[in-house]
Amino acid sequence: MDDGAASEFRGYVAARSAALLRTAYLLTGNHADAEDLLQTALAKTYLAWRTIRDPGAVDAYVHRVLVNTRTSWWRRRRHLTEIATDEVPERPRETDLGEHVAVRDALWTAVLALPRKQRAVIVLRYYEDLSEAETARILGISVGTVKSTTAKALAKLREAVGLRDDSAPAEINGGAHR
């Protein structure tokens, strides 16, 4: 990489790394893995820097690398560090909508227990506020799959924290309409 491109890359990292680390943390659920995931994703981006011609596409590229790398790790390590399951964690007792801290703790625990694809969709839709189409592009799946995956994940999260489904199906599927 020449000096100009290296400088551009460093500028990008300086501007975006904090936000990307937060996404990595939500995808991995722990600090060490998040940092490792971000470093790997940025290193891959560094190597591909000259091929990313549209500066506006860098974020999408890095998100794709984050998710794909995370998926790759998950495949290798799932039985060692994480077991994705269709079963949600036990519902916390005496959960009250007014007890936000308890609900959010339970919700975070439930997010961590989601299968990797559902977790990635949830993070991109509800943390990154990406549209269904943008999420589909990054994950390499159809918009319909994004919708159905989101609905399944939300249903599990609702069950985990004891919230009833008070939204219409269209709203569930629409989520963060953009």
Partner: protein
């Protein structure tokens, strides 16, 4: 907007804010990128950067195509000095004696090379237990090991005496504990162990020969050899880019003599 969606957004933002950015991120990223580039260049045998970028693009496809269940067949290769496929002239008696120094002798196996952590008791123990579950009473003699960087899991090539005779093995850490990727009888006069194993981006051909071997070479087309990337003395790796049944490996000794030459199994 439903209650769960609002709670979810708040929860994700709260949790995300716990992530602390390291101060020296850029140098670490650049260092890791250089390491990845070296590995890719080595794995690609020094092909152009453009081709390396192509490998990056193909990561997910290739990974999907090399699941452990679809690992290419592996085998040991025995290459006596008079191997018919070898283009080198048949060695004289003196040459034969010299070449025998490169043979994997069950009574005096090659020494261990590679990452010392893999041969330490803590890392070796799970490999040993997995091996003994298949070959009761048999002990592994480690020949080479590494912590494979992409997976951060150990890999080991080892020799062992078993009730069925001498064998060699390629074992790797896996999601389930230990995977015995190769478990083959050790043929007489073996001078090189060849294993094609899954890699981060492409399947890898790993060759383990005597530590005195000078060069290990690979010909994807069976004719034009290029040096493989040395992992340790007498150990080398190359992407398995040739066609099975066509690609070949050559091992050159310290004096420039050909130790081994054969098709990749």
């Amino acid at each position: 907007m439903s209650g769960i969606e609002d709670e979810l957004r708040t929860t994700l933002r709260t949790q995300a804010n716990r992530a602390q950015l390291p101060l020296d991120l850029v140098p670490r990223v650049e260092s890791r990128a250089r390491s990845m580039r070296r590995r890719r260049n080595a794995a690609a045998g020094g092909v152009a950067t453009l081709a390396v970028v192509g490998l990056v693009v193909g990561v997910s496809t290739l990974l999907g195509g090399h699941s452990p269940e679809h690992t290419p067949p592996l085998a040991s290769s025995s290459a006596p000095p008079t191997l018919a496929a070898s283009p080198s002239p048949s060695p004289t008696g003196t040459a034969k004696a010299a070449l025998s120094a490169y043979v994997l002798d069950p009574a005096d196996p090659w020494p261990y090379r590679g990452d010392p952590r893999v041969s330490e008791a803590g890392t070796l123990a799970p490999f040993q237990r997995a091996w003994e579950s298949r070959h009761p009473g048999s002990k592994l003699h480690p020949l080479w090991g590494e912590i494979y960087e992409p997976s951060q899991l150990p890999e080991l090539v080892a020799f062992a005496q078993t009730s069925d005779g001498p064998r060699w093995a390629f074992l790797s850490g896996s999601a389930n504990g230990v995977r015995i990727v190769v478990d083959q009888p050790l043929k007489p006069h073996t001078t090189a162990l060849l294993a094609t194993v899954p890699g981060d981006e492409v399947a890898r051909l790993i060759v383990v020969a005597a530590p005195e071997a000078k060069t290990i070479r690979y010909a994807a087309d069976g004719r034009n050899y290029t040096d493989m990337y040395a992992l340790a003395p007498g150990v080398a790796v190359h992407p398995r880019e040739g066609t099975p049944g066509t690609d070949r490996v050559q091992v050159i000794g310290a004096e420039g003599e050909q130790i081994f030459e054969d098709l990749v199994p």
